[in-house]
């Protein structure tokens, strides 16, 4: 479950292809233009490698951390079937992280280095998971709308240029189709239920709307940098395009249930075909993604705890030299 790579707007986009071999660069770009995939041992520009590592790594971390707010509700999911489904979904998300870490590893960053960068707070992950899932309805809204957003991003990126990432995403997208249907089913159950259930799901939607609008990231600056990343098929659509696609697909479905979206300015401009909305609070987005959100510290502490308390298991497996021998007498 992942929106879009967070690229620090202060990072200097200069000299992105400086010093690259022009012949190799031309061959590389021609291969991508022909629709061929790039494989791990192929020549690639430094910036291509760097941006892909950052993007796939952030995606992997998002799957791991995303399992935490949802996992919160496993023990209290209403009914056996929903417990089973939520456990399966959370297990899938962790499995997706494994696939994505593998894809990032092919670019030369070890899994240990990625985990270290996550637990020290150096690497980012999807900002939405720094918010808490207060009620069961929050978990339902996450499973429906955050997964919906993630699928939009992942389907786009699956058509990208880097072979291992595309293969991981194909598998992930297949699995996530169940998540989306499961989430929708949960939200529909609450929205068509008792007045208390309706109130619960409306309140959860109100809480999650700002993070959902943040999900795809701020508008891309139309820069040389973005243009090159799109030509290299690292970035497949602008953040605004993905946000529009999301609104177009899901706002009608939300309204269909008689739920409201907490933004009085949200409407589709019939002339342009684009959705108009109140500009999300990007200062809050920046503040939260840089560590000061309601759950950042807890998420990383829980992740470090898992690493630390699981260490003895890994060590025991490492030294599993002793073999059972039948007693002599």
């Amino acid at each position: 479950m992942y929106g879009n790579a967070y690229i620090d707007p202060n990072e200097k986009p200069k000299s992105i292809i400086d010093g690259e071999d022009p012949i190799k660069l031309a061959e590389f770009e021609a291969r991508i233009a022909r629709g061929e995939k790039i494989e791990p041992k192929d020549w690639m520009p430094r910036e291509y490698r760097k941006q892909l590592i950052r993007m796939i790594e952030q995606h992997a971390h998002s799957e791991i951390i995303g399992a935490l707010p949802e996992g919160t509700w496993i023990t209290r999911a209403p009914g056996f079937k929903r417990k089973l489904a939520l456990m399966a979904k959370v297990q899938d998300e962790v499995g997706h992280a494994q696939l994505l870490y593998s894809a990032a590893e092919t670019l030369g960053k070890s899994r240990e280095a990625m985990i270290n960068d996550l637990i020290t707070g150096k690497s980012k992950y999807s900002n939405v998971f720094n918010y808490p899932a207060f009620t069961w309805a929050d978990a339902c809204v996450i499973a429906w709308l955050i997964d919906a957003g993630a699928i939009i991003n992942q389907v786009a990126n699956a058509k990208g240029s880097y072979g291992p990432y595309c293969r991981a995403l194909d598998r992930i997208c297949t699995e996530e189709s169940f998540h989306l249907k499961y989430g929708h089913d949960n939200v529909v159950t609450l929205a068509t239920g008792t007045p208390t259930q309706r109130k619960m799901v409306q309140e959860a939607l109100n809480r999650w709307w700002p993070p959902i609008m943040h999900f795809f990231g701020p508008s891309d600056k139309i820069s040389n940098h973005t243009e090159i990343l799109m030509r290299w098929k690292v970035k497949m659509a602008t953040n605004d395009d993905m946000r529009q696609q999301f609104l177009n697909m899901y706002v009608p479905k939300i309204w269909d249930l008689g739920l409201t979206v907490p933004d009085a300015n949200l409407k589709k401009n019939e002339e342009t075909g684009k959705w108009e909305y109140t500009e999300p609070d990007w200062d809050e987005f920046k503040r939260v993604i840089n560590g000061d959100g309601p759950c950042n510290a807890e998420r990383l502490a829980v992740r470090r705890n898992a690493e630390e308390r699981g260490r003895w298991v890994r060590e025991a497996l490492n030294t599993a030299q002793s073999k059972y021998v039948v007693p002599l007498a």
């Binding site: 919160t72 696939l99 590893e105 240990e112 985990i115 807890e298 502490a301 705890n305 890994r314």
Partner: protein, 123 residues
């Protein structure tokens, strides 16, 4: 101590500032390539990798990672280090003559010859 919305987290009694030593190289072990056979009679297909300390654990992780959804008949794991592969930059080793009809079934038009022969016999 974290007071979480998640009772499981609260029970764990976790300090917020629980700094830990960084993971060392190979903490997550080396990798195995996983080959998955959907049903008897199918080819095993490469599906991805797992990190594991030994082949038995690789098989277990492979089962969880690639066999938990859908159906599976069989799984193989092979240590990545033991795979000997060609290089994409040597792709020209696969180039042969551009015209290969001589090794295709469609390259042999016997009916044309037979029909021509029959026609000649009749006349």
């Amino acid at each position: 101590m974290i007071k979480s919305l998640d009772p499981r987290v609260t029970r764990e009694q976790i300090e917020l500032d629980n700094q830990i030593a960084p993971l060392q190289e190979l903490d997550q072990w080396e990798t195995y390539e996983v080959f998955h056979q959907k049903k008897r009679g199918d080819q095993h297909m490469h599906v991805g990798i797992v990190h594991a300390p030994n082949p038995e654990m690789a098989l277990l992780f492979g089962k969880e990672q690639y066999g938990r959804r859908g159906i599976t008949a069989n799984i193989w794991v092979v240590k990545t280090a033991n795979v000997f592969a060609s290089e994409y930059e040597d792709q020209d080793i696969f180039e042969t003559v551009p015209e290969k009809q001589y090794r295709e079934a469609g390259g042999y038009k016997v009916m044309e010859k037979i029909n021509k022969y029959k026609k000649e016999q009749k006349s």
